[in-house]
């Protein structure tokens, strides 16, 4: 069992079944998620255009 509060962009999450929606991303791009006192992850959301551009750049390299 995991223990600790869950925070998204500093706001406590009370329902862990809540679905991820675009409004949970800062500037529509980044989510800061904290679990417990000291476990952090930064999530960067990528659009289809960004993924296509990155693939293009990789192929050029």
């Amino acid at each position: 069992m995991q223990s600790g509060g869950i925070y998204i962009n500093g706001v406590q999450v009370r329902d862990v079944e809540k679905q991820v929606t675009p409004d949970l991303f800062l500037d529509g791009k980044v989510m800061v998620i904290r679990f417990g006192k000291n476990h952090f992850k930064i999530i960067e959301g990528l659009t289809n255009e960004e993924i296509a551009l990155e693939e293009e750049l990789e192929q050029e390299d």
Partner: protein, 176 residues
């Protein structure tokens, strides 16, 4: 040697679920920094005494300054700085401070950060940190339950049971 207790009164230990490790592969330096930054005021002096090599006179001086404006978290900032520098390196500490400033910008940060959006500052601070920064297509994570997202990014091992604390009250959440 006194038994070390967490702010909730539990002993430090793996079974208590509040373990921190010196090994950066087990506890990321940023997480370790945040842990000490969030030390309760009541524990700050004790932790400065136990976990740092600062002279006792200096610790007393820090605590005298700290109580004048506890909201500035002087004792916690020095504690986190000293611990990370001892365990890792000064450069790692500087990076943690930079990353923390990106996550929690001071009111004056707008002028320091130019026209960068908050999300851009955060991405810049964590750009070379593959452990902390996870990148996913929106199509993959939109609609995903938060319990599963926690598992996907490696914050939990299962998306089954969580003991979450709301206003310090532990609540068992069982996800489907």
């Amino acid at each position: 040697m006194p038994l070390l207790l967490s702010p909730s009164g539990d002993k430090f230990g793996k079974t208590a679920g509040n373990a921190i490790f010196l090994d950066p592969n087990l506890t990321h330096p940023f997480d370790l920094y945040q842990y000490f930054l969030r030390t309760f005021d009541d524990h700050a002096a004790q932790y400065l005494n136990i976990f740092t090599l600062l002279p006792l006179e200096r610790i007393e001086e820090i605590m005298r300054e700290h109580v004048k404006a506890p909201e500035k978290r002087l004792a916690q900032r020095i504690l986190a700085h000293e611990v990370i520098t001892l365990v890792h390196r000064a450069e790692v500490t500087e990076k943690c401070i930079f990353q923390t400033a990106a996550l929690y910008p001071a009111p004056s940060a707008d002028s320091e950060g130019g026209n960068l959006l908050r999300s851009e500052r955060i991405l810049q601070a964590f750009a070379d940190d593959e452990v902390m920064l996870k990148r996913y297509p929106f199509t993959e994570i939109h609609g995903m339950p938060i319990s599963r997202l926690l598992k996907t990014v490696g914050l939990t091992k299962s998306n089954g049971k969580f003991l979450i604390h709301i206003f310090s009250v532990p609540l068992l959440m069982v996800s489907r």
